[in-house]
Structure formats: C-alpha cells, structure tokens
C-alpha cells in the first residue's frame, strides 16, 4: 500500500543522504521525497511517499527513527491527512490545442502562469493522483514538459507534527 511518511530532522548537511541512503540500502521504494527547512531553521521537514506491506512500512518507520538526525516520524496514513503536490506543465497551445488546453486547465482548477504564441505553462496542485488524472486526460502529443514537486502531506485537524 502507498504510504506518506512525514518526518522532522536536524537541518544538517548530509541529513538527506542518510534518509535516501537508508531507502536504497534496504531496498525500500521511494515514489517521491521532498524536503525543505521549517519555520524553525534548525529543522527540516521531509515527506516521503513509499509503498510496501504493513511489515515493510513498520520497518521503514523504525529504521527512520533509528537515524540519529531524525527527530520525529509520522506515518500520515495512520490517521486523516491532506496531501498536495504541485505540477507545472508546459503544453502546446497553438490553434489546434489552445481552446482544449484552456478548458482542461479550468476543469482541473489549474492556472495558466505563462503564455506564448504556441504554448501555455500551467500550474496545478492537488493529490498526486489528481495530477496523474490531468496528465491522463490531455492529449499526450500536446505535452512539452512537466515538472512535479512530489507530494507534501499534513495531518488533519489536531494531528500535528512538531518538536
């Protein structure tokens, strides 16, 4: 099953490679991994999207906790959570595609953030599966370039990950 794991770690050089090294050394999947400093500059927050059986996920959480730099780990799938990912897509917007691209952008609540004679650059946020659905829905031949941030996640309501 797909899991989203959030963690807080010391914002030190090498911290990221400890996590990515752990995943490759133990053969765990990484679908995406995002990291950035938090409002407390000594801490980084990371979101890892992974998949595996319950036993594997349990091991992943334990192994992450074992890393000396990791302060807190939360498996978001243990409760209710919100997941968002940002994608920027550059699509063809010549006469053939221009209307359709505008319409699909609106349907997926995207925003056109750059325009040229022949292309649109569109920003879309949502769960990773929503972004997948957008890509599925438009004509493959129209896609010029895509870039995705990987998912970020946060617990709903009172579920808070903080030191």
């Amino acid at each position: 099953m797909r899991h989203i794991i959030s963690l807080l770690m010391e914002n030190e050089s090498g911290a990221l490679s400890r996590v990515s090294g752990l995943f490759s050394a133990r053969g765990y999947n990484i679908e995406s991994l995002t990291v950035a400093p938090t409002e407390d500059p000594t801490l980084s927050r990371m979101t890892i999207v992974t998949s595996g059986s319950d036993e594997i996920i349990e091991q992943i959480i334990k192994q992450l906790n074992k890393l000396i730099d990791v302060v807190k780990v939360l498996d978001l799938n243990d409760g209710r959570f919100i997941e968002r990912e940002l994608m920027i897509v550059k699509v063809k917007a010549n006469a053939q595609y221009r209307d359709e691209m505008k319409r699909m952008c609106d349907i997926f609540r995207g925003r056109i953030i750059d325009v040229s004679d022949s292309s649109f650059t569109i920003e879309i946020t949502g769960s990773s599966s929503k972004l997948d659905a957008y890509i599925e829905s438009i004509d493959k031949a129209a896609i010029l370039e895509t870039v995705r941030t990987g998912a970020s996640g946060i617990g709903r309501g009172d579920r808070i990950l903080k030191v």
């Binding site: 050089s13 090498g14 334990k62 000396i68 730099d69 030191v163």
Partner: protein, 572 residues
C-alpha cells in the same frame, strides 16, 4: 588571543583524556600530522602503531568487546580512511562501540579532489551508527563528546569523526561539555511494565519454555541478571555465536550454541518450544534459518531488545519489550522474587525430551592416530588454559570449532566477527584484547587463509610485546569454502586450495616471535602446554597445527533450510 587557547589537535587529545581513553590504535599521515604532534606531547594514553589501518579499527573494536569501554582508532584521510572501512563495517554489524577519528583535507580543499581526499563521511555512512564532519574548530569538543555518547549508548555502534587538517592547526579554547542532550536521540532504557508482566506469566505457564540469548546480553552487561533469571525459572537456554559466555556454558540448562552450526539439542528445542524468550538477539539468517520453517511450529515469542527495529524484522513477535536488556531482566527478576515458583511438572517432561536430543552427542568426533583433528586442538586448548582464556578467532571452520569446543563461562571472552564475518580480524582482535588484559591468556584461533589477511600485525605484536598465542588450524584449504563446495558444488574446489603457503615457523621467527609446527596428534597437548608455560609467558607463539584437511563442521543447516533440518556428522 587568550592564553588558554590551544590548537584543534590539542583539543582532540584533551577530549580523549576527558573520556579516559587508555589506548589509541592508529597510523599517521598528512592530514593527521597536527594530531600526531599532539599525541607525541602527551602521555595519558598510549598510541599503538599498527601496520594497516584495518587492524587499528579491529584492535579498537576488540578492546571494546573485551572491556565494554569505547575503543578508539585514529587514521589519516583518503587511503587511511578507506583502509579503515572493513574494520568499521565489522564493528557496525556486531554493534560495537568505537570512535574513529579520521583526518580530512583542509576545509578549503574539500571537494577539489585534493591529494588524499575522499568523501569519508559519505563512504562510511552506511556502516556507522553515526558520523560527523567537523567544519569549525569550535565544534571539535562537542562533536567528540557526542561521538562517545552515541557510540556507547542505546544499541552501541561505531561513530566516525572526520576532522579537516586546517582546523587542527587553528586555536580555540578548550571546553569539554559535561553532558550531552540530543533531541533526536533518546534510547529507551526501561521496558514496558505491562509487557514484562505478561512475558513472565507466559514463561511461567509454558510447557516448553526456551530462552534464546544473543550478543545484546554481552554488550548490555546483563549476564549475571540473565543467569539469575534462567536459573530461577529453570528453563533451557541457547545462545547465538555472539552471545556465548552470556550464560555459563558449563551449566546443565545450557544447550549449546544454536544456528547453522549449532547443536542438535539447541536447534530442536528452539523449533519445538511453545514460549520463546529472545534476549538481545535478532533472529538472523544464520541463526534461525528459514523463518517460515521456524514458525511452522507455533510458538509465542517474547523479544527483549534495545533496538525497536530488531523487533519483528524477520519474525513476527507476539510480546515486544523495547528496553535495555539489563533493566528489563532486573524488572523480571524483581517480579520473579515475588512469585511462588512451583515445581513445574511439564518442565521435567520437556527436559526429558531435550536429554534425548542431547544424547545424540552431535559434537562427538573420532580422534585419529595420524591426523590432527581440529576439534581436538580446541578441546586441548580449553583444557590447557583451564577454560579461562580470551579466545579471538578469524572466520571459517576454525571459528565454528572454537565456538563449539571451547565452552565459555564468562562474557566478553569470545571475540569474533559474527555479523560481517571478516577474515583477518583474529590477530588484531587478539592485540586489542591483550592490551586491555595484559596478564590474561589470549589465544587467537585462526586458519592459514585468514591469518594471512592481517599477518603484518606480527610486527605490531613485536613492538608492543604482546604475548598472544596463535593457534593456526592449518588445513591448506579455505576450509569453510571447501566444505560448501563439497556439499553443494559436487566437490569442485574452485580456488579454495591454499597454494604456496609460507613456512609459518620461519615467518613468525622473522618477526622475532616463537614458531612451532605440530604435525602429530600426540604433540598437540605438549605444544600447547609449552606455549602457555611460564617460559614463554612473555612471547608471542605461533603454533602451526597441520590438521586433517577434509574435516567438516557439523551439525550444519544448509542455507535456507529450517532449524530441524540439520545434517549431522554420521548422516554423510
């Protein structure tokens, strides 16, 4: 600049003094010249100059294994650090607390492919508990303090501190922190009391209880607590290779080592028990074989371990208890003292069954008039040393024979590489052990292939007058490899024959030691007696025992098979 400013190198030394370090095992080089200059000007610890950095780390590791204190190694950048990697990985796999200080090129040269630069922190990351690159002289003292703390607390392990050369020359005031707090690292010491109660009542009501003790008991200094507990509940107990000595081997309740080359009775009892208590052990592949086969006989498993990630890793645990083994065993003993222990009838029946397995005498072997049996050498070693030696070993058949035929009654006496299985550790392990215990008998059980992997250390032994007794079980084969080739590869002995062996007697003599070659069974005991006699008390003795070439280690569980699927000697 105030007068109490000292160099970064001196700060490193002062930190080691604060940690009461007695020995530093090392090898100099460009990046650590400042540190070595400071080593030269102090006399609070002794520097042991090895002949290869791998041996420095192994020796520091053995110092830790045999004393429980943190071992320290000092190496230079680049090749010094890469040579140390095998030693670090070996210590990591067996959770040994050591601190490795490595020199690094100056901070301004990092990333420039400078002379003798390598990414030491990157290379060692997967085989250390933690590592640090110190970029500022202000951080040297606090980092070394953290390194010792992390290495020795929780589940122990190696910690490396990489120090660029320029900051060892700069000056700063020395201030050693009194304590460390890491918000991201808080090992759990105390076990959950509810779980402990549950575990005890399960064990007391079990019909076929079994204890499986591992290296964690030795590392956690919990032998006497374990012994007390096991003797009170009266159950049988087995130990892993790493746990030997954690419970006295001469005790009737002890069934011997379990696992791939474990005894018949230990493996059968492990398979057939109804409640299993695992203490500081990790159910690894060499120990329980195939996990599905192991669980095919239903049992309730209690697991005490300081490392949560060891629990339910290979085998699902019913009652996990995360905590320091010594603390949990103390709690168990306290509860037990309030309990009225009834004579357990079913325990009697359980032991009846065990005695039947035991009567198989799976470790028996036939002595020969002409050929020296390696098992006989170890048995005689045990007799001559009265079971009181520190025994280090290399990796191979000789290691298994040492584990099987030298029963250990005390912890920290059996020093070997269990997890990584590193050939070459034997001699440096003996060095670290002998330095830590100058008056003790230290025997290094090795093979003609393994000993050649760190043979240069005979020179270190000469320099520091280490009276180690080397027991070379010379079968002219990489015996363990040959055994697998015999069993599983149709006797095709690919590259496992040791050609062009040196004359070990002359070799030992050329390093200034005593050499002996023993070719007849009747000479085994006299030779060992002489080697351990007062006459040779101060000398390293290299005993080259020419043994039966085709002897195999039994019992054996073939790779991937289950605990009760052992091959016993007569089966073949």
């Amino acid at each position: 600049m105030s007068s109490n400013y000292i160099s970064g190198a001196e700060i490193v030394i002062r930190c080691l003094h604060e940690e009461k370090v007695k020995f530093v095992f090392g090898y100099p080089g460009g990046a650590v010249l400042n540190i070595y200059d400071a080593v030269f000007q102090q006399n609070k610890f002794k520097h042991i100059l090895v002949r290869h950095e791998q041996a420095a780390v192994h020796a520091a590791d053995a110092y830790a294994r045999s004393t429980g204190k943190v071992g320290v190694a000092l190496v230079t950048s680049g090749p010094g650090a890469t040579n140390a990697v095998t030693g670090i990985a070996t210590a990591y796999m067996d959770s040994i607390p050591i601190v490795i200080i490595s020199g690094q090129v100056p901070t301004y040269a990092i990333g420039q492919d400078a002379f003798q630069e390598c990414d030491t922190v990157g290379i060692t990351r997967p085989c250390v508990k933690h590592n640090f690159l110190v970029k500022d002289i202000k951080d040297i003292a606090s980092t070394i303090k953290k390194a010792f703390y992390v290495a020795s607390s929780g589940r122990p392990g190696p910690v490396l501190v990489d120090i660029p050369k320029d900051i060892t020359a700069e000056k700063y005031e020395f201030n050693y922190p009194k304590s460390v707090h890491l918000r991201s690292y808080n090992p759990i010491i105390k076990g959950h009391s509810g779980q402990i109660k549950k575990a005890l009542s399960l064990l007391l009501s079990a019909k076929r209880p079994m204890i499986y003790s591992g290296g964690g008991v030795v590392l956690g200094n919990a032998s006497s607590q374990l012994t007390k507990f096991v003797r009170t509940i009266g159950s049988p107990i087995t130990s892993t290779l790493m746990g030997l000595g954690g419970f006295p081997a001469s005790d009737k309740q002890f069934l011997g080592m379990l696992g791939m080359h474990g005894t018949y009775e230990a493996n059968m009892a492990m398979q057939e028990c109804d409640v299993l208590l695992a203490v500081g052990a990790r159910f690894d592949d060499r120990v329980i074989g195939n996990p599905e086969h192991f669980l095919s006989k239903p049992k309730t498993i209690v697991h005490i371990d300081i490392d949560p990630s060891s629990i339910s890793k290979r085998v699902k645990i019913n009652i996990p208890i995360v905590g320091d083994v010594i603390s949990v065993l103390n709690d168990l003993n306290d509860l037990l003292s309030k309990e009225k222990i009834k004579q357990n009838i079913s325990l009697k029946n359980w032991f009846k069954e065990i005695e039947q397995w035991r009567s198989m005498n799976c470790l028996s072997f036939k002595n020969d008039k002409q050929l020296i049996k390696p098992q006989f050498v170890i048995q005689t070693l045990h007799k001559v040393t009265k079971g009181d030696a520190f025994v280090t070993s290399d990796v191979g058949q000789h290691q298994m024979w040492a584990a099987q035929y030298y029963p250990f009654d005390k912890p920290r006496r059996w020093i070997n590489s269990g997890g990584l299985g590193t050939m070459g550790v034997g001699l440096p392990y003996a060095m670290g052990t002998q330095l830590a215990h100058p008056d003790a008998k230290v025997a290094c059980v090795t093979g003609e292939a393994s000993i050649q992997m760190c043979i240069q250390e005979l020179s270190t032994c000469k320099q520091f007058h280490l009276p180690i007794k080397i027991i070379n079980l010379n079968n002219r084969y990489m015996g363990m490899v040959r055994q697998w080739q015999e069993f599983f590869y149709g006797n095709r002995y690919a590259e496992s024959y040791m050609e062009a062996l040196p004359d070990f007697v002359k070799l030992a003599e050329s390093y200034g030691h005593v050499g002996m070659k023993i070719e007849k069974p009747s000479d085994v005991e006299p030779a060992l007696k002489e080697a351990f006699s007062n006459k040779l008390k101060e000398r390293l003795v290299f005993m080259d025992f020419i043994t039966d070439q085709k002897e195999n280690v039994f019992p054996m569980i073939p790779n991937g098979k289950g605990l009760s699927e052992m091959i016993i000697a007569e089966d073949l």
